[in-house]
Amino acid sequence: MENPQEDLYREVIMDHFKNPRNKGLLPEPQIKVKGVNPFCGDELELTLDIKDGRVVAVGIETQGCAISKASSSMMAEVLTGKPAQVLTDWVAFLKTKLVDGSADAWPAELEELKAIEGVRNYAARVKCALLPWNTLVEGLQEFAAQKGGKVTLTHTEEAS
């Protein structure tokens, strides 16, 4: 029997899980978002500083499974220097990739995330992978709505 989970716990995932990038929270962040997945108890805190519409500093702390921790770490690594719109587009891309299995090509910056594509076959695990990204989008949207004011909020994953 073909087992799509065969790929899920590859070295790259376990490396991010064991050595999470950008670990630790920023002291006075402009955006501070908590992300909660009530379905599996995963929780993270994401802090961001933004300058001229671009991310300039990232700090993240994630408690949860290897998939959510690895996805958080991979995300943290690619945020710096990116404008909010690019990030929002990336999340939309990831959702179509992981939920619908679209054939669109991966943006070069996100190639490492190919490692978590195996979650696609397991709806419960897709939430683990998307939690940090959905948390990011909610923070960025609120930041835009506040027109640059400080943002503190909680994102909760909803039932699919």
Partner: protein, 413 residues
């Protein structure tokens, strides 16, 4: 393959009765979620649809009469299986959850008043907790929870008398815990309730009836609920047992066809006799007949012998897990007082990862809070990895679970 036998039949032989299991390499250890089905149950279901599919209770032609007899015959089998004297006390529902909600919305609606108390335990499945919370909210009543005692792996039954009073109208508890396998002393609990209050007693036997002898008459419980799909039967069929005098006094649950005797538009309609008063609309006839076939299968082997087999698997798993480093076990200290459930965590490994990695080894377990969020909170956990056994499971399958654990630990070290 193990030479283990249950009541003279080898497990290897029993496995041949289960099409999903026979000839696969899957170690199906998620029986507390749902059991697999023997060929006889699948045949009973498809046999109904291919040979005598007709609406029961109203036909004047042969296959409708045949459907009626098979449907009502299954009801008699369930009554005998539960130790009920009267098959009119057996009501078919969709599942345990619906059976419990039936009691909450009919008996509860009529008998629970402001200030009354409903007692349940911290160990309950959400389906034996939330219906009472909703009822209490509607009525201004209160739900009180008997605390969980981690040392014994079950509710602190000695504290029950302290929770009972003239205000207590209902005590609802599980026969067996779905996440830990703990067997509750049903007869003793009912006796305790009777001694200290006039409360009615509901037993959630969803996890009990598949593995242990049920005795509603001997236990003297007022209500008992179960699901067919956890005891080799199909999904979509549940059972509510109720004492006849209570069911007689209760208003109908759902209104519609089959639950009426006479319908008027100028005065109140009259309800059908038990048990049909509580079975509005066309029931899951094929499913009920297949439940009858499941009971025949269980009776032929014997639930007591099945339980002994599961306990041997459980003791084996517990012994090995206790000797492993970095494993936390939950529930009773050993297999005594436990059905075939082993709930554990691997230190530093989220249960979702453990479950996914076990799936990679073709071992199916359940991970998560098992619809026991208050219990998990009491244990200070988000969830556990749960392996649960049934008659067709073997020591070799348990060993595949055990052998996979050090591999997972190595990956996460």
């Amino acid at each position: 393959m193990s030479q283990t036998t249950i009541n003279g039949r080898s497990v290897a032989d029993i496995r041949k009765d289960f099409p999903l299991i026979a000839g696969t390499t899957l170690a199906y250890l998620d029986n507390a979620a749902t059991s697999q089905k023997p060929r006889s149950v699948i045949d009973a279901l498809s046999g109904y649809y291919s040979a005598y599919n007709a609406n029961p209770h109203r036909g004047v032609y042969p296959i409708s009469e045949q459907a009626t007899q098979a449907y009502e015959g299954a009801r008699k089998k369930v009554a005998t299986f539960l130790g009920a004297v009267d098959s009119a006390s057996v009501i078919f529902t969709r599942n345990t959850t619906e059976a419990i909600n039936l009691v909450a919305y009919t008996w509860g609606q009529a008998n629970i008043r402001e200030g009354d108390e409903i007692v349940t335990t911290e160990m309950e499945h959400h389906s034996n907790m939330v219906p009472w919370q909703l009822l209490a909210k509607r009525k201004g009543a209160k739900v009180r929870y008997l605390p969980f005692d981690a040392a014994t792996g079950g509710p602190a039954w000695s504290a029950l008398p302290g929770l009972l009073s003239a205000k207590t109208k209902l005590v609802a508890f599980a026969h067996v815990s779905n996440s830990l396998g703990t067997i509750n002393p049903v007869a003793e609990v009912v006796a305790m309730v009777r001694k200290h209050s006039a409360a009615k007693v509901l037993v959630d036997s969803a996890q009990g009836a598949p593995h242990l002898q049920v005795d509603v008459k001997g236990w003297d419980c007022d209500f008992l609920a179960l699901s067919a799909h956890k005891m080799l039967g199909p999904m979509g069929v549940g059972v509510l047992f109720g004492k006849r005098e209570l069911l007689e006094a209760m208003d109908p649950f759902l209104g519609g066809g089959d639950m009426i005797r006479e319908v008027y538009i100028d005065r109140e309609s009259k309800w059908n006799d038990l048990p049909w008063k509580f079975e509005a609309g066309t029931p899951n006839v094929g499913g009920v007949i297949a439940l009858g076939a499941a009971i025949d299968y269980l009776d032929a082997i014997g639930v007591a012998a099945i339980h002994r087999h599961e306990q041997a698997l459980t003791q084996h798993a517990l012994d090995r897990l206790k000797r492993m480093k970095g494993i936390t076990l939950y529930g009773t200290p050993d297999a005594k007082g436990r059905c075939g459930v082993v709930s554990f965590n691997i230190d530093g490994v989220h249960p979702h990862d453990a479950g996914s990695l076990l799936a990679r080894e073709d071992v199916a377990v359940r991970v998560g809070h098992h619809c026991n969020m208050p219990l998990m909170k009491r244990l200070g956990l988000w969830g556990t990895t749960r392996a649960s056994f049934y008659l067709y499971n073997t020591i070799e399958e348990v060993d595949r679970l055990l052998i996979a654990i050090p591999k997972i630990q190595k990956l996460f070290s």
